[in-house]
């Protein structure tokens, strides 16, 4: 394991409801980077992320996060996790949601203001979450993950359904956080997000097709478009 790995997954096997989701997965995520976890819907991205944050039952293998086994009590104050479906309380306002999570995390009121600005939702503080659009709800959920300024951010499709300007702003935020030492693992099923990542993990049917930078992947496959890169990798694996 390289000294700079924030996450190390070794021979991970996960079975959900009798179906093998991850047969035997090994990978690493470098500290202080933005790593994209890309793959089609159903490829096992969310399962892998759940295993990393320690809420997924695993059949075998190991997951180490920030030098400790995933799910350790000490890690809980160091990881920010955003689930795929916005996991916030629909009947509360944006502000009430964030104040609640801030209290649980022992974060300050100032942290609430900070994360609201980071996801551009300052004007929506008093709005009930159920009345917001899907993209706005996702941003509330993201804001909650940012509250405690964690060392590791695990974000499951944080930019789905957002307009291009917001998406660009969020990716800038992610890189700003990485520059300050945060490790980010961000999943997406849209290939055009891949170019925004320092490193990519390409996942398909629970198997890792590639782990490289976007530039390396282009060089390796001779394709320019990352969508084509992905297709080429699938053909090579078949």
């Amino acid at each position: 394991m390289s000294a700079a790995a924030a996450i190390r997954v070794t021979d991970l096997r996960v079975v959900r409801g009798g179906a093998v989701v991850l047969p035997d997965l090994s990978c690493e995520v470098a500290a202080g980077s933005v790593t994209g976890l890309l793959g089609p819907s159903g490829s096992g991205k969310s399962t892998l992320l759940r295993a990393i944050v320690g809420v997924q039952k695993v059949a075998s293998g190991s997951v180490d996060v920030l030098g400790q086994p995933a799910g350790s009590a000490d890690l809980r104050s160091r990881i920010g996790y955003m689930t795929q479906a916005p996991s916030v309380y629909g009947d509360l306002t944006v502000g009430e949601n964030l104040v609640f999570f801030a209290r649980v995390l022992d974060a300050s009121e100032a942290a609430v203001d900070r994360v609201l600005a980071e996801v551009s939702l300052e004007e929506y503080r008093g709005r009930v979450v159920n009345r917001l659009s899907g993209g706005q709800r996702a941003r509330v959920s993201l804001a909650a993950a940012l509250l405690a300024e964690p060392d590791l951010l695990v974000l499951d499709e944080p930019t789905v359904g957002l307009d291009p300007v917001l998406r660009r702003d969020l990716w800038e935020l992610f890189h700003g956080l990485a520059e300050r030492g945060t490790t980010l693992l961000v999943s997406s099923h849209v290939m055009d997000e891949a170019d925004r990542c320092d490193a990519l993990l390409l996942l398909r049917e629970g198997t890792l097709l590639a782990h490289a930078t976007p530039a390396q992947l282009r060089e390796q496959t001779g394709e320019d478009n990352l969508e084509d890169v992905f297709l080429r990798l699938i053909e090579e694996h078949a």
């Binding site: 809420v55 104050s77 996790y81 996991s87 009947d91 009430e96 999570f101 209290r103 995390l105």
Partner: protein, 245 residues
């Protein structure tokens, strides 16, 4: 256990309920209507109303809080917020205790309003101290909500959660002594009734109504109710899983 987190969970649950005034109105209003019906049905001075009225003040919060808590907790499970909380630095008991606190608070309102109505307007006579009726009603509510929390672990949908009410609550109501005094029950039924927490909650209220609170059995009742609440909280926390399939 952290008071900060327990308090945060309790405040959040109360804010959620505040957003839902219709539910609050039902929680407080329905028992009032039922109490009026009971009094009108049997008559103000009838022995039935006078004997059943006081224990009913405890049964209402027990039933409503069981239902409301199990559905709220199930919602927390299915919405993903529970999964998020499980990745945060908190103890599982903080969540369960937070819920119990919040619903105890709602129960204070419910029990106070219904008791005021029954003891005042409806002419229910309680030989023991009136405040004790309210305290016991709140204890019933906490018992109901902690049982609801525990049971919600076994429900996958809201339909199932609602069905747990007749499955878990109705047998306890049938056997607690309300319909047939327990000393007149078949031996095997009485044996079961000893194992059900509502039996003791009912008995405590009946003894308050008859001013038998100096009786040692009243103390036993109270201890069993408190023990059952603690046990249900522990079981509720134990059935919350950090890792799920």
């Amino acid at each position: 256990m952290s008071l900060r987190i327990t308090g945060a969970v309790a405040r959040r649950v109360v804010s959620q309920l505040r957003r839902d005034p219709r539910t609050i109105a039902l929680i407080v209003g329905v028992p009032c209507v039922l109490m009026v019906l009971l009094q009108q049905l049997f008559g103000r001075d009838s022995s039935v109303f006078q004997e059943v009225g006081t224990p009913m003040l405890g049964l209402f919060p027990f039933i409503t809080m069981f239902l409301v808590t199990s559905v709220t907790m199930l919602r927390e499970r299915t919405s993903g917020t529970l999964e998020r909380l499980m990745t945060m630095p908190l103890h599982k008991i903080d969540i369960v205790a937070g819920y119990a606190f919040a619903f105890a608070l709602v129960a204070v309102v419910q029990a106070t309003v219904v008791s005021l109505l029954a003891l005042g307007l409806l002419g229910l006579d309680v030989a023991g101290p009136n405040w004790l009726v309210v305290v016991l009603a709140v204890a019933n509510a906490i018992l109901g909500s902690t049982l609801g929390l525990f049971v919600s672990a076994f429900a996958e949908t809201e339909f199932q959660a609602v069905q747990f009410m007749p499955a878990v609550v109705l047998p306890q109501i049938l056997l607690c002594g309300l319909f047939v005094p327990r000393d007149q029950m078949a031996a095997w039924l009485r044996a079961i009734s000893y194992a059900l927490p509502l039996t003791y909650a009912y008995d405590a209220l009946a003894r308050t109504a008859a001013n038998e609170i100096d009786d040692v059995w009243f103390a036993v009742d109270c201890l069993v109710v408190i023990g059952s609440i603690a046990l249900a909280i522990a079981l509720g926390a134990a059935t919350l899983r950090r890792r799920t399939a």
